[in-house]
């Protein structure tokens, strides 16, 4: 048995690889998914037939399959996972995720993976360091107050008065609010910029703590469909996994009983995500859907419209939708932001 590192965007291996995966029941080869792959390993027998394969996309293991004649005792499986964790370590990733079917949960747990969340269709597991426990210990707020602890998760790309309105509702009805800012580098505003603008915009609300969403809240690692144009079905199961992860791991560890979201009239992805939260969270966590705050002209305030205004250089038109801190930042950085918009015409910006 020999192992080869291949690039599946290369036609020579693409066909061989995809056919092998399809014969093992793995589908979903969208351009965005293939683009995310960093490296693929193929194990071949003496005749050059594929025995097993696995890929790495950042710190996520993907497209892992083993020929059914080589599954006994899990020997090949352990070799494959071992090899991929080594490749990931060489790339500086010591913390890995895998999405898999629920029937393979045990196989991954057998090689040291911990279950994070599962739904009837899919399971999410992690291995290595730091773990979700480290993440939760790091963000846990030592509050002595008693009362409702709430959570909001937002991308805030950038932070608007609409976001502010949602935070105010939660702040008013809670003893403590965890405000998670989604970590990703695929939005127009960088993670640090988004977080700083959120912090500046809520600093007068003393019971709101702004924390990093890390790899566990709508992150490109665990919820890629939120950022990429993916299959509706894939987006749906990832949304349910994200909701389960929040319910099973994050809420109990931080004592969160309530979650606030804004209603979503425009984006289908966000609307589906809200729907998944509504299906998964209650009764453990109460979901509050707050109607979106309206702008002076009667339309709902949306970050999408702010980004459009940045693109067209019409900042004054959206001034009334923005806290002074965000407006000042946009004004000072307009040329940089416009340059980012023209160089990256990606979806999600």
């Amino acid at each position: 048995m020999e192992v080869k590192e291949v690039d599946v965007k290369n036609r020579r291996y693409r066909h061989l690889w995809q056919q092998f995966l399809e014969s093992n029941g793995i589908t979903g080869f969208s351009a965005a998914d293939l683009e995310a792959i960093d490296t693929t390993s193929l194990w071949l027998d003496e005749e050059g037939e594929v025995i097993a394969t696995g890929s790495l996309a950042g710190h996520v293991l993907k497209y892992l399959a083993i020929d059914e004649n080589h599954r006994q005792a899990g020997t090949t499986f352990n070799i494959v996972v071992s090899h991929l964790t080594e490749l990931a370590a060489q790339r500086g990733h010591y913390h890995l995720f895998v999405f898999t079917k629920p029937e393979y949960e045990a196989s991954f747990q057998h090689v040291g993976f911990q279950l994070l969340a599962h739904t009837p269709q899919a399971s999410l597991l992690e291995t290595g360091m730091p773990t979700i426990k480290d993440y939760l210990n790091q963000i846990k707020h030592s509050s002595t107050e008693t009362g409702t602890i709430s959570a909001i998760v937002m991308n805030a790309n950038p932070f608007t008065k609409g976001h502010r309105y949602l935070v105010e509702q939660a702040s008013r009805n809670s003893a403590l609010v965890y405000l998670f800012v989604v970590s990703n580098d695929v939005s127009l505003f960088k993670t640090t910029e988004r977080k700083e603008l959120v912090e500046a915009g809520v600093k007068d609300l003393s019971n709101v703590v702004v924390v990093d969403g890390g790899d566990y809240q709508i992150s490109p690692a665990t919820f890629p469909a939120y950022f990429l144009k993916s299959d509706q079905e894939i987006g749906d199961y990832q949304a349910h996994l994200d909701a389960q992860l929040f319910k099973q791991q994050i809420a109990p560890a931080l004592g969160i009983t309530d979650r606030y979201v804004g209603s979503e009239p425009h984006s289908k992805t966000t609307e589906n995500y809200n729907q998944a939260l509504a299906e998964v969270l209650p009764p453990t966590v109460t979901l509050h859907v707050i109607p979106r705050c309206q702008s002076n002209n009667g339309d709902v305030i949306s970050a999408t419209r702010i980004r459009q205004a940045i693109k067209e250089g019409r900042l004054e038109d959206v001034k009334c939708d923005l806290p002074t801190s965000t407006f000042a930042f946009l004004k000072a950085n307009l040329p940089i932001l416009q340059a980012r918009l023209t160089t990256h015409q990606q979806k999600g910006f």
Binding site: N78, S82, E86, A89, Y94, V111, G112, M129, P130
Partner: protein, 97 residues
């Protein structure tokens, strides 16, 4: 000695152990995953701790996934991971053995 980077050594194959070491604060904390933990868990942790201490590490978070490794294998993997974490792989610490 100060841990400079997270590092890993070993595989998940039978008779091996995969050890990952990262910087820690209070002593050497080992998270061991082993099917023989109830029988040999304490012994495996002792070998890892002794090896790390011998390389001068006093604070570390360690994750170990054991697949039935013998003591000599545990020691070799712990040493390799430790030296990678300390970035001293070019100065093999033979005396640790």
């Amino acid at each position: 000695m100060e841990i400079k980077t997270t590092a890993m050594a070993g595989t998940l194959e039978s008779s091996d152990i995969q050890i990952t070491i990262s910087a820690g604060q209070d002593g050497i904390n080992i998270d061991l995953d082993s099917s023989v933990a109830s029988l040999y868990g304490d012994q495996i942790k002792k070998v890892i701790t002794d090896t790390l201490v011998a390389t001068g590490i006093t604070n570390a978070n360690v994750k170990a996934i054991d697949k039935g490794a013998l003591d000599c294998v545990v020691k070799a993997r712990a040493l390799a991971a430790a030296q990678r974490a300390l970035e001293t792989s070019d100065q093999p610490a033979w005396e640790v053995f």
